[in-house]
């Protein structure tokens, strides 16, 4: 019993890692709402080129024109008139943690980012509210031509590359929140890996939203040239407030021929967050995209990383786990479009819902006319931990080529009583047995992550299960 109590206390401490609040201070913020004046203000503050201001204004037009989606979760609690779209923290971007203001540095210390940088990362970016406050990369990688910087710097220093790629994969016309992102984006990361370079140690960007009632709209762009390889880790969290916060980031990944990108995300936004993020990758000949995703936080999520397999022999691997607790509605999944011959994809999604939480797997798999000889496999498993939760599976499969091989399967159920009984007969309490089975259920996902992040994911699962353990 004492053992269980200490475990619960440890979990409570772990929970506090994410849900701590700092005084809301800033050097500048826009008014709440969304107007052309606000968009101009953001662009002016960032001293952007004219083309970017034009792009923002055009995106704003699209935002006004496009309807809210009518098929997903209820987002009526999100009132754009009350969202502050730009909050500049009291800090400039630094390359040394000692130069970052103490209260902001303390935030990232508590999240373990500087420690992780020392032990297991080749580069780190840290965003606080709307701006990046810290960015660094190992000199060795710089010598090989790798670029890892914040997106505002990239816009000025690598303008041609940014202009050629910015919102080309996710155009502002895609959906309402892509248009919103195009209008008010701020911060984010830019990664460029030159031809043939293998970045063997992961890069990580961490996004922290501290301001109540604000939005975070970071833009992440990763270009992996032919034959190169990189692992990028994205983390996000926020303290919980009583007002709605919004995350409408955008991730665009360009993977060249024979290149490989692993994009891992551990998302633990606070339970007042509307997480309406868009992620998309285009993969060249024999290239590979690996998505590893853990979604634990937010009030409402709509997140469907999309892979466009554009080059012959391109491959997509998606491994994701979603855990919805009380008051959460997490609508997640994946989209894959096979656009070239002999492309392959493997989707493996797991979800757990408890205490009235709602998990939706929403997937799309499209095999187009040109994708001769393609193979795709989709597997979805959902676990219900109680009778007040909900778990739905909504896959769409469109096949437009006869020379393909497609398999899809999905299962919904609860933890087997026999398995719990067996573990209890071996000396475990019912709660321990249940937690062990849940960890086993997500093991295929956690094993895809670097050790430190797998531990973090397991801790998050334990934290989510805390209600069941007490």
């Amino acid at each position: 019993m004492a053992n269980e109590k200490s475990k619960i206390n440890a979990l409570a401490d772990f929970g506090n890692i994410y849900n701590f609040k700092k005084d809301f201070t800033y050097s500048y913020k826009t008014e709440a709402g969304l107007t052309p004046e606000i968009v101009r203000e953001i662009s002016q503050k960032k001293n952007e080129p004219q083309w970017m201001l034009d792009f923002r204004l055009k995106s704003l037009d699209w935002f006004y024109k496009i309807d809210y989606p009518n098929w997903g979760p209820d987002i009526s609690g999100l009132d754009m008139d009350n969202i502050v779209t730009y909050v500049r923290p009291n800090a400039q971007m630094k390359a040394d943690w000692n130069d970052v203001p103490d209260d902001i540095k303390d935030t990232f210390d508590r999240l373990g980012i500087p420690d992780a940088e020392k032990t297991s990362l080749a580069g780190v970016g840290a965003q606080y509210d709307s701006e990046v406050v810290y960015h660094s990369i190992q000199d060795e990688l710089v010598k090989q031509g790798v670029i890892y910087t914040d997106f505002d710097t990239a816009l000025h220093e690598y303008e041609d590359i940014v202009k050629a790629h910015f919102m080309k994969l996710v155009p502002p016309t895609d959906h309402k929140f892509a248009a919103l992102h195009g209008a008010v984006w701020s911060g984010g990361s830019f990664v460029y890996v030159p031809k043939g370079v293998d970045v063997s140690i992961p890069l990580q960007s961490y996004f922290r939203l501290n301001a109540p009632g604000a939005g975070q709209f970071e833009h992440t762009m990763i270009i992996v040239e032919e034959g190169a390889k990189v692992h990028f880790i994205e983390g996000c969290s926020a303290p919980k407030y009583n007002v709605a916060n919004l995350h409408a980031g955008c991730v665009e990944l360009f993977i060249g021929d024979n290149a490989e990108l692993t994009y891992s995300t551990i998302e633990n936004w606070s339970k007042n967050m509307y997480n309406l993020n868009t992620k998309r990758a285009i993969v060249g000949k024999n290239g590979r995209i690996n998505w590893v995703t853990g979604s634990f936080g937010s009030h409402t999520s709509c997140l469907y990383p999309m892979s466009i397999l554009q080059g012959e022999g391109a491959h997509c691997e998606f491994t994701g786990v979603t855990f919805a607790g009380k008051g959460q509605y997490l609508d997640t999944g994946s989209k894959v479009v096979h656009n070239a011959p002999h492309t392959t994809s493997n989707i493996n999604s797991k979800s757990i819902s408890k205490s009235g939480g709602v998990c939706i797997y929403r997937g799309c798999l499209q095999i187009n006319e040109r994708a001769e000889g393609s193979k795709a496999n989709v597997s979805c498993e959902s676990l219900m931990l109680d009778e007040i939760s909900q778990s739905d599976t909504i896959p769409s499969i469109v096949v437009k080529n006869d020379n393909i091989d497609l398999g899809h399967e999905a299962k919904i159920g609860r933890i087997s009583d026999e398995a719990i009984f067996y573990l209890m007969s071996r000396g475990l309490s019912e709660d321990e047995a249940r937690a062990m089975l849940v960890r086993g259920f997500v093991e295929p996902i956690s094993k895809e992550l670097p050790l430190e992040y797998a531990v973090e994911m397991n801790n998050l699962i334990n934290l989510e299960l805390k209600g069941s353990l007490t």
Binding site: P69, W71, S389, D392, I397, V399, G407, H408, I412
Partner: protein, 375 residues
């Protein structure tokens, strides 16, 4: 061109995929057709009667079905039939609805009521054709406690026909509703089947096969809310597509709160025999109850070339080998029709269709490319 929406998904998804419903060109409203009576025979103590006017079935909301065609089948029907199976009885009924140039439109209702403990088999044939022919058919099924209703339907209309069918079924405690469908004909086949399993141990089983060619469209829509304890659903759809034909499968197993120990499974298997054929599959599992087991599976692909190679190495032509493989895929459904005459008609139609495809050369060219050393 004005289009109408059919078979809306109970839970819509990404708009850009255009899979949330089927769109078909609107057919201009026609005058109420002449009364029609199908060929009928029956065995056992079942009561079969025909009526004019609306059967006034206590229909639940057919959420997602096309409102216009639903209204038409209630207001302009030209044939109505009621089948009542007494408690504890065992009966069979055969009905044939045949289109012709003299009877190009059938708007029909069929009410089926199986009293407690009865077993009722209904065999329905939809045959014939007419230029711009159409069938709009509504079936209402009530299976009382421990009753078993099986409907075996074959649809062999000419490919000038639009065939629309709505079915609602309710299975009471330990009641079973079973459908076996062989869908071969019509230019457009649109099926909307809703079955409520609200009482303990209610069961719904469905097996459907199709074989498409030309520009045929098949749209199978199932929605099964399961709220009774220990209810069971098993939906199997299998078939092959040739030329420019398309198949949509929208299966929704809906585990509602309270439906403890419910089991539901759905599967959709499609053999693609031509590059222009499209298979669209949207198998939904909705779950608000933890003590259930639900699963779905979907697969699509070409004929296994190893199987084809083996059969051809044993002396079959590629057309013959392909026919054997296609037939073996759908044969379990055909065999389950349970009526020899129906089975023979469907097998004949399958063979004719495959031969017709081969004569056009599409499949032959593909096989020749794949196994040039054999051809």
């Amino acid at each position: 061109m004005i289009k109408e929406q059919y078979n809306q998904l109970p839970r819509p998804t990404f708009r850009w995929m255009k899979v949330n419903h089927l769109e078909l060109p609107k057919v201009e409203a026609q005058e109420a057709p002449q009364p029609f009576q199908p060929l009928e025979r029956h065995e056992g103590p079942v009561a079969v009667c025909f009526y004019n006017g609306d059967g006034a079935f206590p229909l639940k909301a057919f959420t997602g079905a096309n409102d216009t065609s639903l209204a038409e089948v209630r207001e302009k029907q030209n044939t109505g039939c009621r089948i009542d199976a007494p408690a504890g009885s065992k009966s069979s009924v055969w009905l044939t609805y045949e289109l012709s140039e003299q009877m190009p439109q059938i708007i029909g209702q069929l009410g089926i009521k199986a009293e407690a403990g009865s077993q009722l088999d209904v065999y329905i044939n939809f045959e014939g054709g007419a230029a711009a022919g159409s069938v709009n058919f509504l079936t209402y099924v009530e299976a009382a406690a421990n009753a078993h209703v099986k409907i075996s339907k074959i649809q062999l209309h000419d490919e000038t026909v639009r065939h629309i069918e709505h079915r609602y079924a309710h299975a009471a405690q330990n009641g079973t509703v079973e459908y076996v469908n062989a869908e071969m004909g019509s230019k457009e086949t649109v099926l909307y089947y809703q079955t409520d399993l609200m009482e303990e141990k209610g069961k719904f089983k469905s097996q459907a096969m199709y074989l498409g060619n030309d520009h045929q469209v098949f749209d199978f829509s199932y929605w099964v809310p399961q709220q009774g304890v220990k209810t069971e659903t098993d939906i199997v759809t299998t078939g092959s597509l040739m030329e420019q034909s398309r198949k949509y499968f929208r299966g929704t197993i809906d585990f509602l709160r309270g439906g403890k120990q419910a089991v539901g499974s759905e599967s959709d298997t499609c053999l693609l025999l031509s590059p222009g054929a499209h298979s669209i599959s949207i198998p939904l599992l909705l779950c608000k109850e933890d003590d259930v087991v639900g699963n779905h599976a979907s697969s699509a692909g070409q004929i296994d070339k190893d199987k084809l190679f083996y059969l051809m190495s044993r002396g079959f032509s590629e057309a013959g080998a392909q026919l054997i493989i296609v037939e073996s895929n759908i044969r379990p459904v055909i065999d389950n029709l349970g009526d020899t005459e129906q089975e023979n008609k469907v097998l004949q139609a399958v063979r004719e269709k495959m031969q017709s495809c081969h004569k056009k050369g599409d499949c032959h060219d593909k096989c020749t490319k794949r196994f040039p050393h054999i051809d």
